[in-house]
């Protein structure tokens, strides 16, 4: 009789422990519905569900120059401007790519800037199958959030259970202090793109103007 009581107690304890373990280890709603990351590196084509993306270059600048309603605007920042150029293609049907986030090495997330008015080459990017399209993502980031950062590209800003390209920016040249080696004093968003293969030269020329 006594052994049976002890056995029952043991079974009860085991059940409680098992239930508690299951409750603790259960993934939370936010984890269950999080975007599904697809990892990639710069200059590689990353295939997300509805679009393909290839990161070509990242330019850092202290000031951005842009035209707004025919007026020239100079945009300054307390950190650095990061202008990311990406090649985008849709996989099967015309769609838009709207979500661009700069994720720092410690996980801080910098959304695409809202200080630029709507432009043709800014998100949301309209993309079509088999038609490559250049798109810009522009971020304001502190200089210490550049080394080890990655770029998150998704079809929408909030894209639960949808694919999210996570492109590591390790190929961005940084100095010993973590700062990028090339920072332009001024970057003109409306200047014509430099010809392919002379990117570096084109950038420096643009910086001097």
């Amino acid at each position: 009789m006594k052994i049976r009581a002890i056995g029952n107690l043991l079974i009860l304890c085991a059940t409680v422990a098992l239930s508690y373990g299951m409750q603790v280890s259960k993934p939370h709603y936010a984890e269950l519905t999080a975007p599904i990351p697809i990892d990639g590196a710069m200059h590689d084509t990353v295939r997300a569900r509805s679009f393909d993306v290839r990161l070509d270059k990242v330019v850092f600048a202290r000031t951005l120059k842009t035209n707004q309603f025919g007026q020239e605007r100079l945009l300054t920042t307390s950190g650095l401007w990061a202008v990311v150029t990406a090649d985008l293609t849709a996989t099967s049907t015309s769609t838009t790519v709207a979500g661009g986030t700069w994720q720092g090495p410690t996980g801080l997330r910098y959304h695409h800037t809202e200080r630029l008015s709507y432009r043709q080459d800014m998100p949301p990017h309209a993309v079509d199958p088999d038609l490559e399209r250049n798109g810009l993502f522009v971020f304001e980031v502190p200089p210490d959030q550049i080394r080890g950062a990655s770029l998150l590209v998704a079809a929408r800003r909030f894209a639960p259970l949808d694919a999210q390209a996570r492109i590591s920016l390790d190929a961005v040249p940084t100095g010993a202090d973590g700062q990028p080696t090339d920072v332009l004093p001024l970057y003109d968003l409306d200047a014509p793109a430099p010809p392919q293969g002379q990117t570096q030269q084109g950038q420096t020329q643009q910086g001097k103007t």
Binding site: A30, R73, G79, T101, Y110, H111, R115, E140
Partner: protein, 193 residues
């Protein structure tokens, strides 16, 4: 010695049992909620204030009769402006700063201010983690509204929950009044901005 201590203790418990029970019951029934609430503390105006998701430092306050930071004013209006250095303390870009400051004791036609980035007058941009920016809170007022020379602004903060009760996601909830910060209000002449 222990015997006397024990008997003393027993006497205390016996004599105090009624009081303890009364306090417990009163507490359970919420009698202490009727106590006068503590006044929100006075916050320093010359140091940064941690207000939940934002670190704020008020810089200056003034009344303007001209357009400030691109915020249009209707005819017959003036604007109460509070400039503050704001830093996003959270892990992602956010613009939930509309209720951080509220002027006390002033009749506002619209309680929600217009907020502009002082750097280039962008209206309500997202602020990025760890990047301090000067923001201008602009409350339009009637032209004849009286604004005291020393005005206190209520500062609202929120608490962080690693998991909210609905979705289990992290976020900032339950706004509460952190305190008030008193600022001298300059009255700018017509042409000033």
């Amino acid at each position: 010695m222990f015997k006397t201590a024990r008997s003393k203790f027993q006497t205390w418990i016996t004599a105090g049992a009624g009081t303890i029970a009364a306090l417990l019951v009163a507490g359970l029934m919420g009698a202490f909620g009727a106590l006068p609430a503590h006044a929100p503390p006075q916050l320093p105006s010359d140091a940064a204030i941690d207000a939940g998701p934002w670190r704020v430092q008020p810089v200056r306050a003034y009344v303007s009769r001209a357009k400030v930071y691109g915020v249009p004013l209707k005819p017959g209006q003036k604007a109460l402006v509070l400039e503050a250095d704001m830093t996003n303390r959270t892990a992602q870009s956010d613009k939930a700063y509309f209720n951080v400051f509220k002027p006390d004791g002033i009749d506002l036609p619209d309680p929600l201010p217009m907020i502009a980035l002082a750097r280039d007058s962008t209206l309500t941009p997202e602020l990025h983690p760890g990047m301090t920016e000067r923001m201008a809170y602009v409350w339009p007022l009637a032209r004849d509204a009286a604004v005291p020379a020393n005005l206190s602004f209520g500062v609202t903060a929120e608490i962080f929950k690693p998991r909210d009760n609905l979705y289990g996601t992290p976020g900032w909830f339950n706004p509460y009044r952190l305190g008030t910060v008193a600022m001298p209000v300059a009255d700018l002449p017509e042409s000033g901005s």
